[in-house]
């Protein structure tokens, strides 16, 4: 019994893909996260450092214009949701979205994600956390050695943005800065920004 070339090729394709199936069933997969329901967060501390370091980011304020005029994060732009969808992200730039609370920014996050954009983040805690932890932070009077770096970093940022520090007797207060924003995975491939719209056909 002899096989034609095409039959041999088909058999090869069958076996190598069967092997692929077996491999992916046996080998433990890396924790499959459901990416579609995940939000990429930015902490206020990261944002403050990025603004100060003149990183390539665009900060978007999603609150009403009246709130924006009263108070906003330096370098931010005030956009409505529909303006945001038309917003042309500068090349190689990441978008940081903020609002009064996370709900509105997360909604905007998913709308952008639906458009296929990838380089955008939600500012965890929004403008309130910015106010409470960057501009007018409360820091412990006594600082352990391990937290010395962090405290001096916050001090520098507060004075850079023209705020004021209040020292209190609570060592726990630094916990906020130490806990990482949940689902933060923007440390990964950040270089992939290359004008993605043009990668398609």
């Amino acid at each position: 019994m002899s096989f034609t070339l095409n039959q041999k090729l088909a058999a090869f394709a069958f076996f190598i893909s069967l092997l692929a199936m077996i491999t992916s069933l046996i080998l433990p997969q890396e924790a499959e996260e459901n990416e579609t329901s995940q939000v990429d967060y930015f902490s206020v501390l990261e944002l403050a450092q990025d603004i100060r370091g003149k990183e390539n980011i665009s900060v978007i304020d999603l609150r009403p214009a009246s709130d924006f005029e009263k108070f906003n994060i330096p370098s931010s732009i005030n956009l409505t949701l529909s303006e945001l969808l038309d917003f042309e992200t500068p090349r190689h730039s990441s978008l940081i979205l903020y609002s009064d609370n996370d709900t509105q920014s997360e909604q905007a996050y998913f709308m952008l994600k639906g458009l296929g954009k990838t380089q955008h983040f939600v500012l965890k805690g929004g403008v309130e956390d910015w106010y409470d932890y960057i501009l007018y932070p409360k820091l412990p009077k006594a600082v352990t050695d391990s937290n010395q770096m962090l405290v001096s970093k916050i001090k520098a940022l507060t004075s850079f943005f023209g705020g004021r520090i209040e020292f209190i007797d609570d060592a726990e207060i630094l916990e906020y800065y130490l806990e990482k924003p949940v689902n933060n995975n923007h440390k990964g491939p950040k270089k992939v920004v290359k004008n993605l719209e043009r990668m398609g056909c």
Partner: protein, 197 residues
Amino acid sequence: MNGPFYINGWIGEEVSLIFALVIGIAFGFFLERAGLGSAKKLAAQFYGRDMTVFKMMFTAIITAMIGLFWVNQFGVVDIELIYLTPTFVAPQIIGGLVFGVGFIVGGYCPGTSCVAGATGSLDGWMNVLGLLSGILIFGELYPYLESFYNATPMGALTFVDYFQLPGGVMVFILVILALLGFWASGKIESRTSSPKA
């Protein structure tokens, strides 16, 4: 060895463009070799007389798909970094239908019209001109089409995400479907060609 090389900064802009030229040459070569530079051969697909388009397209798809699974498995390339065109259900279904109509009317798709033109087919060049003018019209109408263009977005979405299946299982299912398709197209070809000829 960590790919994609371009995204990970292993090769620069200039090298990537030379690579583009080489890839293009190989792409055009294989299209012409299989006969996809001929409008009659392409159109014959849709009259059940010659299944070359289907055979070649799906062979290429499963070859790259299986290959990608294995290179990802061996860590040569990170599959997550490969650009995925985002899914927009309505415009892509309507776009596909419109494209199919244009394909059978004109006899070429954008890539094969270039190949046809390169081998001296004047109708291939006419098709390219038609494509360019169609793109211009689309561009001019874009402000009106934009809302539909962006309708029903689902983001970058693969079957693996959608069905929540391990990659290899999805590969196997699609390969089986393709092989069944190849078997069926052999049957269709022998039915349409042998009794008449």
